[in-house]
Symmetry: C2
Subunit: 606 residues, 2 copies
């Protein structure tokens, strides 16, 4: 290799130790001082005998001027510069000429007059522009394939930096509260969180498999039995789901567990944690305590166990109005044990076209509705369109009172089993609010949903299943009905909701072996199966397990909401697509058959 070649392959500054300054560390007071700046070139502008660039490093940007008359050598080198080249510049701070300041830039009043410049690396033609703040026009697959370029965008970069500060702020709080950060295994046993496990074949134990954890649930309980009393971990978890929604196969969880606490202790601590972090990072003061809604009330009022309370349009019970109605559809539903419920869209008559309404009917049917009845509200308590003709004058008056309806509003009805009516109207409520921008963007509405049922009946599995997981403690007051009427029993669990998204949840756990066995029995998990899957937990509960409980938060989802993003992919440095694929590394990928043989497996023929 020639000397010239080797120099081209190498960077001379590698062994220099010039002190380097960050762009935004410099201000007007530094006028006349010389600095060394290093970073990436944005906005290269050639004005004849002057060349301007904006230099970007992780702190921000600053303008650099190359002046042929001041430093011909630098100017000559600068001629070769293109966007996103990496450069090291030595230059002197000067105040920008009047009228040329850039008010959008923190360093907009100054610029650097270059005295020397070194090209540290060049850059090929970009597949897309980095400067444009909006991703509009750039395909997300392209963005993910060139993630290193995408991450240079201001918004994405700030999201990732915020994430770092966010998790550190949480750690700082918990550390001060006496929590211990304890690592749990990744190569572990299947945990029964209701999703599919990712499997890892074992080479040293051919025919056996590890599973990647869906959560550290059992280990954190074991840690309580060990006597650590206050555990936390910010930890990756894995679920092999069909990624229909905005989910990732691997996601990050803040995981906590405490001994000798009750539900209120955990809720208060969480509130204190959140308000501390909000104050520190966002300078937002949260009102404590957050509202606590009963599960039943949340379903009745919002049709959801993760209600978005940033807007009204709540669900109203209308059965009492229609109990003697001449509209048979409603009356029969009520007689048959169902309910009639409704919501009122303010000014809906004007907002919705006939086509819109048809779409809403289809929307409702997607969520199990038989149809979607509606009426427009006119002047003087008149009704118009939809099922208006079936509704008597007296009923109209009652409806208008119940729903606070006014001229121009629109009412939607569901007559069905309470469960279905709630679910459909709950979905419709959110759908309408999004469609008509009824949701204030800057609000952070945190709330708790409590008193969930312990069990539910799974139509799919044709048996009783846990609403949360089988280690959730029933409420003390409902212990007596566990066997006689299990679906009525409520649990000591709590979901944490922000702006209509579930961002966390937890429970007081069962800490008595007998009760845990009882729950397995109700869930029709045979003693043999219980032993096979959870034997070590049952053993642990029999060796002095303290009362304990905990909570876990979805870090990705919280960050998405805090950063006002629409996708969790925008708060994750290296996310996967909805097909669990990474376009950057082309992962997952084929592997050599030798690797499969080593772990004792083979591919199934298609």
């Amino acid at each position: 290799m020639s000397k010239m070649e080797s120099e081209r392959l190498f960077v001379k500054t590698l062994t220099k130790t010039l002190k380097r300054t960050l762009c935004e560390e410099i201000n007007e007071n530094d006028k006349g001082l010389e600095f060394n700046l290093k970073g990436w070139v944005m906005h290269y502008r050639d004005h004849g005998s002057l060349i301007f660039i904006d230099l970007r490093d992780y702190s921000g940007t600053i303008q650099i001027v190359f002046d042929e008359t001041i430093s011909p050598q630098s100017f000559k080198t600068a001629k070769k510069i293109r966007n996103e080249f990496v450069v090291s510049v030595l230059g002197v701070v000067r105040i920008r000429p009047s009228g040329t300041e850039n008010p959008h830039l923190k360093t907009g009043k100054i610029e650097i007059e270059a005295r020397s410049v070194e090209l540290l690396n060049d850059c090929e033609t970009l597949p897309f522009q980095i400067e444009e703040e909006k991703e509009a026009g750039v395909n997300e697959l392209m963005r993910l394939k060139y993630r290193y370029l995408d991450l240079r965008r201001k918004k994405l970069k700030e999201n990732i930096i915020f994430r770092s500060n966010f998790t550190f702020s949480i750690r700082n709080f918990l550390q001060k509260k006496g929590f211990f950060d304890i690592e749990t295994p990744f190569l572990t046993k299947s945990t029964p969180e209701g999703s599919r496990d990712f499997l890892v074949p074992s080479r040293l134990n051919i025919g056996s498999f590890y599973a990647l954890p869906q959560s550290p649930q059992l280990f954190k309980q074991i840690l309580m039995v060990s006597g650590f009393e206050r555990y936390y971990q910010i930890v990756r978890c894995f679920r092999d789901e069909d990624l229909r929604a905005d989910r990732q196969p691997e996601f990050t969880q803040l995981d906590m567990e405490m001994s000798f606490v009750n539900k209120d202790d955990i809720l208060s601590l969480t509130e204190e944690l959140l308000s501390g972090v909000f104050g520190e990072l966002l300078n937002i003061k949260l009102n404590l305590p957050f509202p606590r809604l009963n599960y039943d009330d949340a379903m009745d009022t919002y049709g959801s166990d993760k209600p978005d309370t940033r807007f009204e349009m709540t669900l109203k019970k209308l059965s009492h109005i229609f109990v003697n109605s001449s509209f048979n559809l409603f009356k029969d539903t009520i007689t048959g044990g169902g309910e009639v419920k409704g919501i009122c869209l303010k000014t809906g008559s004007n907002l919705l076209s006939r086509k819109d309404i048809d779409e809403l009917v289809s929307f409702a049917k997607e969520f199990g509705a038989k149809g979607l009845a509606w009426t427009k509200v006119g002047e003087n308590k008149t009704f118009d369109g939809g099922i208006s003709k079936f509704i008597s004058i007296g009923e109209r008056s009652n409806l208008i009172n119940e729903l606070n309806a006014e001229n121009g509003d629109m009412i939607f009805y569901q007559a069905d089993l309470k469960r279905i009516a709630n679910a459909v109207l709950g979905k419709l409520r959110v759908h309408l609010a999004k469609k008509f921008n009824l949701i204030p963007k800057s609000k952070f509405n945190f709330l708790w949903v409590v008193n969930f049922p312990l069990f539910e009946y799974s139509e799919e599995e044709k048996k009783i299943v846990s609403v949360h997981h089988p280690f959730t403690s029933p409420k003390l007051s409902d212990i007596d009905i566990l066997i006689s009427d299990p679906l009525k029993a409520r649990s000591e669990s709590y979901d944490f909701v922000l702006n209509g998204e579930e961002i966390g949840g937890g429970s007081i756990r069962i800490h008595k072996k007998e009760l845990q066995e009882q729950i397995f029995k109700i869930l029709k998990i045979t003693p043999e199966n219980a032993r096979l899957k959870f034997g070590f937990l049952l053993d642990a509960l029999s060796f002095g397990a303290p009362p304990h409980g905990g909570i876990a938060f979805g870090i990705d989802r919280i960050l998405m909401l805090l950063r006002n993003e629409n996708s969790i992919r925008d708060v994750i440095a290296f996310p996967k697509t909805q097909k669990a694929y990474c376009p950057l590394t082309d992962t997952p990928s084929k592997i050599e058959s030798m690797q499969l043989r080593e772990v004792g497996i083979s591919l199934l023929k298609k």
Copy 2:
């Protein structure tokens, strides 16, 4: 279920909110005050009308007295208590009667006079005693199976708590230094760190596989290309190795990467980090900077690239003494291009029996020696035994000078290729030091080994391979010999050594695509293969990659050394055995064939 049964299954205090105090929060000044304590029972002692227990929580222990005359009800309940029961005690602080203080206990001057007590949970007969501080006699498999009991031991508990403080202290330092904690994927592509990957079959992309990361190497380089400049992560890594040594299939790494830095920047920052953490957690002041040894010097002087400098017994070159020797074995080795080297074990003549010496010969042969020559040093520069009769009086005198030998010492010789002589004497040096307790336990000898070769010849693969990894930058001064004499080229890498163990290492990386391609070529990685495996890195290097470098530390190993443990299993909450097996959860384990079918694989027939 009857009311009584349900009460037995449940704990009444669950919903109580009595403020609870920790054992070691209480002292003599609290005399007469009432507290609620919760924890585990140690040392239950029944003295007739008095029952004593030591109550343990995570803060420590305190003595509780149940006095039949003071609280008959508590006394009655206390009668049912056994070791490791979980209890809640309400009691009053009193000063212990003179002569009954326990000087070993922080709370040894006081005790709690119980007024009421509640049994929160009971405990079956323990498989082993928790109180005994030494694990002697308890099989490690038993300890791991009942890990929740093992973790109640003081030493193990303190290790895990120290670990939490240790990693937090690191984070705190790096956060202040402007580092960003950025998460990288776990479901990713195979990285070429020289070990086997753990594989994860993909269900959504049948026939394709993820690999668990051996390190976030490529992602952290990508983050530098993205412009984050200062990255860190405390992250789990995975290697599917044959676990002959004290290794775990999953281990934790402190991973760092920086842009626009040189080697010295990284070394200084590491030293500052370590000395900060040592000061904060151990109150130990480390002398900075740590010594920097050239790889060649480390091998010549200590026969190891991870020298333990806590003791002397260094390797000496003796070839010049034997160059004209009448001892043909030595002379011929030197003539043939080999070397004669030796070490001197102080007072070795008295320490070693004939049988010991035979064992040492076998030991040396294990590491490739043809044999192990030795001589005892007697009075007046006489030699005795071994190869003494082949050594002339002049040679003896020179040897004694060279090795600082005295009457009673023992000299061991190796005549072989320099590489082999160094390796054998290096191993022997450490072996002898351990055997005869020559290593001061309380010393922390940190050092750097620098100027490693870039490549080495692999006898196994019959080709040149990277000493570290293929992204390591060569030294600027050695660029010219990369092709002409690659095995002479040195790298910009550094290993970090504590007390003879490699606890970290890193390098300045290649940031130019052309140089990276050049290295792949030397390593005989075809352009097609390079593209397949590292295409995204090569692409990234061509889009404005800054000069960058980094380092990674093995957290488990550092903690083992700091805590003076012999196994990393003692600083990990839930370790696996040497067969990568977890006795607690019985993992890895068989899974249902349906799970295999879902991911498109089947077990190979044996």
